[in-house]
């Protein structure tokens, strides 16, 4: 086809000597940004057509049922009973184990979406395991609306701030860099599959986190702290980012004329947000402690299922759960986590910078994922989101991480019946990751051939594992052999990526396309 064209250039072709536009269009970026957002929404709606976790699987069902049950509990009992075992709230059946903002969100969703249209789906006691196509649709729409209200605006804000004000004027070069970055953030296959397939509300806490990052990058630190506190109060897992936020903000405050005042201001905002969120439980110390104990379920063990972190991956060699008590394991994991995130924290306190901050977010969440207590396979979303914010700086590492993050959740998603959606989203991500046109001059860095060989081998083995996992039945002696193999492979990649990202953070030289005003600020 290409050969033929060169032989006989027609008149139309000569006229059209422009840079390689996506559609030959120099349309304003705003329109294309709108198109990307709508497409991201479409993909979410399409994934939402599929099954969810625990569908038709009594007695415990899955995360879908947990979220529905929380709506049922929150709209029928007073807030003081939400975290307490009472006659109407059996904590053994999906007791609420997320902070108060999740509870408020459940209340609002239950009241606005479920109760008015399908009251049976949230009737106290009677609605356990309630499944109907209408209630499924309403539940799906609660996630969609949360995503639209929190994650989308946050991602848009981040992209706008990342590129400064240039985006508002149409750029003449015709590249689609902004749109690509936005697509990488919005079309994250892991987040879409977990939220709109498996069924969770990670978009809310992660959206608040991105919003906080955007606010801090644009110099609105108080707003940023507020948003991060919201994120923390929606899912305690957001604490994975806390060291990075703390270090970056502290580092910035230390460079001010009056560091103590700056720190005090931030502390007041944080405290006020927490008081606001925890108000129903602050009437006594016991009540607050009751909630806290629900949030930290140490009795559930150091890891769950097959998660590609240190404790689970090395458990084939050292039986952590059997050999050590919970108390000593707690201590081990605490020390390991702190030691692993310390270098990146120190770097941010020493010389806070915008790119360093994004790397610090990635590094601290990685160290929590790899070493902290009670980690789920879904927690890989936490390192993945800062990595997607860094997609333009570290395209190769980001692509590699996304692929393996998704792969590490393959057993989970397959159990949910989402194999088809998994394949489609993985391909779609790959296609957009490698657009057929030049996205950005810097985007295709030369990868040394040695690394390329290693990557090719790894990709080949993971592709093989995909097939084996789908087709072959595991040997009877080791029913979870393939899960363990997937986990080990992903763990190896995550460790390499974490080390790489830590090194990058320490060797950063700020000379990237984003953040035009950075030098002035610091």
């Amino acid at each position: 086809m290409g050969r033929r064209r060169k032989e006989s250039p027609t008149a139309g072709e000569v006229e059209e000597e422009r840079p390689p536009y996506f559609f030959g269009a120099a349309s304003t970026s705003m329109v294309r940004i709108l198109a990307v957002s709508l497409f991201a929404l479409l993909v979410r709606v399409l994934v939402a057509l599929g099954p969810y976790s625990g569908r038709r699987r009594p007695p415990m069902y899955g995360d879908y049922e947990a979220q529905r049950h929380w709506m049922e509990i929150t709209i029928h009992t007073p807030p003081s009973e939400w975290y307490r075992n009472t006659s109407s709230n059996d904590l053994a059946y999906w007791g609420l184990d997320y902070p108060p903002l999740t509870a408020y969100q459940s209340y609002v969703h239950g009241r606005l979406f479920l109760q008015p249209f399908v009251p049976d789906s949230v009737a106290l006691f009677l609605s356990r395991g309630f499944e109907s196509s209408k209630s499924k649709l309403l539940m799906r729409w609660t996630v969609l609306s949360s995503d639209l209200l929190v994650f989308f605006p946050a991602a848009l804000c981040f992209v706008f701030i990342y590129f400064g004000r240039r985006i508002r004027r149409g750029r003449g070069d015709g590249s689609v860099t902004h749109e690509w970055l936005l697509a990488m953030i919005l079309l994250n296959p892991c987040l879409i599959l977990i939220d709109h397939g498996h069924f969770q509300y990670n978009c809310i806490s992660l959206g608040f986190m991105i919003g906080a990052v955007a606010a801090i990058l644009s110099g609105r630190e108080l707003l940023g702290s507020f948003l991060f506190c919201l994120s923390l109060n929606h899912k305690q897992m957001s604490a994975y980012y806390a060291p990075a936020f703390f270090a970056h903000l502290l580092g910035k405050c230390l460079r001010r004329h009056n560091p103590i005042l700056s720190v005090m201001k931030l502390a007041i905002v944080v405290l006020a947000t927490f008081v606001l969120m925890w108000w129903p439980y602050l009437y006594s110390l016991d009540a607050a402690r009751e909630v806290l104990s629900r949030l930290a379920p140490f009795e559930r063990g150091i890891y769950e299922d097959y998660v590609a972190n240190f404790w689970c991956s090395t458990s084939t060699l050292i039986k952590w759960k059997m050999r050590f008590t919970v108390k000593s394991l707690k201590l081990f994991s605490l020390c390991a986590t702190v030691i692993s995130f310390l270098p990146s924290t120190v770097q941010q306190i020493k010389s806070p910078s915008n790119h360093g901050f994004l790397h610090a977010l990635l590094n601290s969440s990685f160290s929590f994922y790899l070493f902290s207590y009670q980690v789920h396979e879904k927690s890989i979303l936490l390192p993945l989101i800062p990595a997607s914010l860094l997609a333009l700086e570290e395209p190769t590492a980001f692509g590699w991480l996304t692929y393996h993050a998704l792969f590490s959740m393959f057993p989970l998603l397959r159990r949910d019946g989402l194999t088809l959606q998994y394949g489609a989203l993985l391909s779609l991500f790959g296609l957009i990751y490698r657009l057929p046109i030049e996205v950005h001059g810097r985007r295709r860095p030369r990868i040394p051939w040695k690394l390329q060989t290693v990557m090719a081998l790894s990709s080949f083995s993971s592709a093989l594992l995909h097939l084996v996992y789908l087709i072959v039945r595991p040997p009877r002696r080791y029913p979870f052999l393939f899960e363990a193999l997937i986990m080990a492979l992903c763990f190896a990649q995550f460790v390499i990526l974490a080390i790489y990202s830590n090194i990058r953070q320490w060797t950063l030289r700020d000379a990237s396309p984003g953040f035009p005003s950075e030098k002035k600020k610091i």
Partner: protein, 498 residues
């Protein structure tokens, strides 16, 4: 080439995600045909009546179903069991859905060939408009049909004709007609064009030779497809199955064409005559009731027979045929064939709303030819896509169809304009698609939003369950304006060119 594959794969991802979505009875129709072609001898294909969904596509399509039934039997033998009516296990859903996605490879070939001489940007736009056509996705991948496969063949045929490879183009068209006879509407245009372009101007003997060659090619295709049935002496039965004229002028849901106005005029006249005191009988067969029998559904205006509608189609097409006869130029073929399908859509007998794909998809190829084309295409594509909205009535698919149309509109509006800006020197000449659509056109497009809001929100609020057919009637009437406008626009365009 990389572009084309990229667009196709990206579209395929979206199509695969639609697998769990709503599917119409057409899904069972095609499943039954898999079973039918797999388990019955060829002599029984057009005779069998074990399901109400008898085979009503021409034999080449039946062969296609037969080929599909071979892997289907491997995936799950229950799919091809003829007694298994209404079988919808996960295996059959996945198999059939994926079969449509992969059948769209023909669309890849067709789009690739027809757009290969265009410049980079335009070529990508054509790929996007064809491969991501929201109407096609709605009909094929939600409602369930194999239009992508057939439209790919049509595009292939048009591409071959445009490149001057008439014999191969004719062959592709013959294959198309023998796969779905609804495509035969363009046969007059093809006939006149091939006669004048392929078989004339080279001296009588060579012309005759070429005529015979073309005839032989078409004959072979017809023989391959209809031969076995001719051998079994079933031609009458096959044609009876292919052309069920008992079905009436309009489909249960009116396609947005000329007859919508005819029906409405009849209703109005009946209403006013009754007011004036004339005794007007209310016809027993009504259009809104869904069941359309053979008795006249009109109260005042004369009954329309298939012959009348056929004559109207031919008359509508005739100016174009004259133009083709006078000056058979390859570069106008796409326009002429699209126009022929438009005529068939506007005046045809028992037309489905899906038939508007037959001209919307080929017109995408010339949408970037000029600013007027761009404006017209935008209007037409929107009207055509919107007219298919009622096919997807469930709340699950509601955001899907809306988002598909919105994204399509954004792509068209933002990407068509730049081809013309910068080339026009006079200031008062419109340079954006919006300007080409014109204020009237933009108001018409905005009206779609009003129709949608009425149908989805205001009608249930204000009227409740009364007049349940009104929103549907409104959709087809409103779209019919756009369709008829498109028909007149295309006619004017053809007459103005050359």
């Amino acid at each position: 080439m990389a572009d084309l594959a990229w667009f196709w794969c990206a579209a395929a991802c979206v199509k695969v995600l639609l697998a769990p979505a709503y599917r119409s009875t057409d899904f069972e129709v095609h499943r039954h045909w898999l079973a039918l072609t797999s388990s019955l001898p060829i002599s029984q294909w057009y005779v069998d009546a074990s399901s109400p969904w008898t085979l009503d596509y021409p034999p080449l399509f039946a062969y296609f179903e037969f080929l599909l039934s071979i892997p289907a039997a491997i995936v799950d033998p229950a799919i091809v069991d003829i007694r298994n009516l209404g079988y919808e296990a996960e295996s059959v859903v996945l198999f059939q859905r994926l079969s449509v996605v992969f059948a769209d490879l023909s669309l890849l070939v067709g789009a690739g060939l027809i757009a290969r001489r265009l410049s980079g940007g335009k070529r990508r736009l054509v790929y996007a408009l064809i491969l991501w056509s929201p109407a096609l996705i709605i009909v094929d991948h939600v409602h369930f049909q194999y239009n992508g496969l057939l439209l790919g063949v049509l595009l292939l045929s048009l591409a071959l004709l445009t490149e001057g490879r008439d014999l191969e183009g004719g062959l592709a068209f013959a294959v198309l007609i023998c796969s779905k006879h609804l495509f035969a509407v363009a046969a007059p245009v093809y006939f006149v064009y091939l006669l004048r372009h392929y078989c004339s101007g080279r001296g009588i003997w060579r012309d005759l030779g070429r005529f015979l060659k073309m005839g032989a090619v078409v004959g072979v295709v017809a023989a391959v497809s209809f031969g076995p049935f001719l051998y079994h002496g079933q031609m009458k039965q096959v044609f009876y199955r292919l052309f069920p004229f008992g079905r009436g002028l309009c489909h249960a849901y009116w396609a947005p064409n000329f007859w919508v106005f005819y029906i409405i005029l009849d209703k109005f006249m009946a209403f006013f005559l009754r007011k004036l005191g004339y005794p007007v009988e209310i016809p027993s067969a009504s259009f809104t009731g869904g069941l359309v029998g053979s008795s006249s559904p009109f109260a005042v205006l004369p009954q329309v027979t298939p012959a009348v509608s056929l004559v109207l189609v031919i008359v509508g097409m005739s100016p174009c045929l004259v133009r083709v006869w006078k000056k058979p130029e390859p570069r106008h073929v796409v326009r002429w064939v699209s126009y022929a399908y438009t005529c068939g859509f506007i005046f045809g007998w028992h037309v489905h709303e899906k038939a508007s794909l037959h001209f919307v998809i080929p017109l995408a190829v010339i949408a970037a030819d000029s600013l007027e084309d761009a404006g017209h295409y935008f209007l037409l594509a929107t009207a055509s896509c919107y007219s298919m909205f009622p096919l997807l009535f469930g709340p699950e698919e509601y955001p899907v169809k809306l988002l598909l149309l919105l994204i399509h509109s954004i792509i068209v509006l933002s990407s068509l304009s730049p081809f013309f800006s910068g080339k026009v020197s006079q200031e008062d000449v419109p340079t954006t698609t919006t300007a080409a659509v014109g204020p009237a056109g933009m108001w018409y497009l905005a009206g779609f939003a009003a129709v949608e809001v009425w149908g989805q929100l205001l009608h249930p609020l204000l009227l409740g369950d009364r007049l349940p057919f009104l929103p549907l009637m409104l959709v087809s009437t409103y779209c019919a304006f756009g369709m008829v406008y498109s028909w007149t626009w295309q006619l004017r365009r053809i007459l103005a060119a050359g």
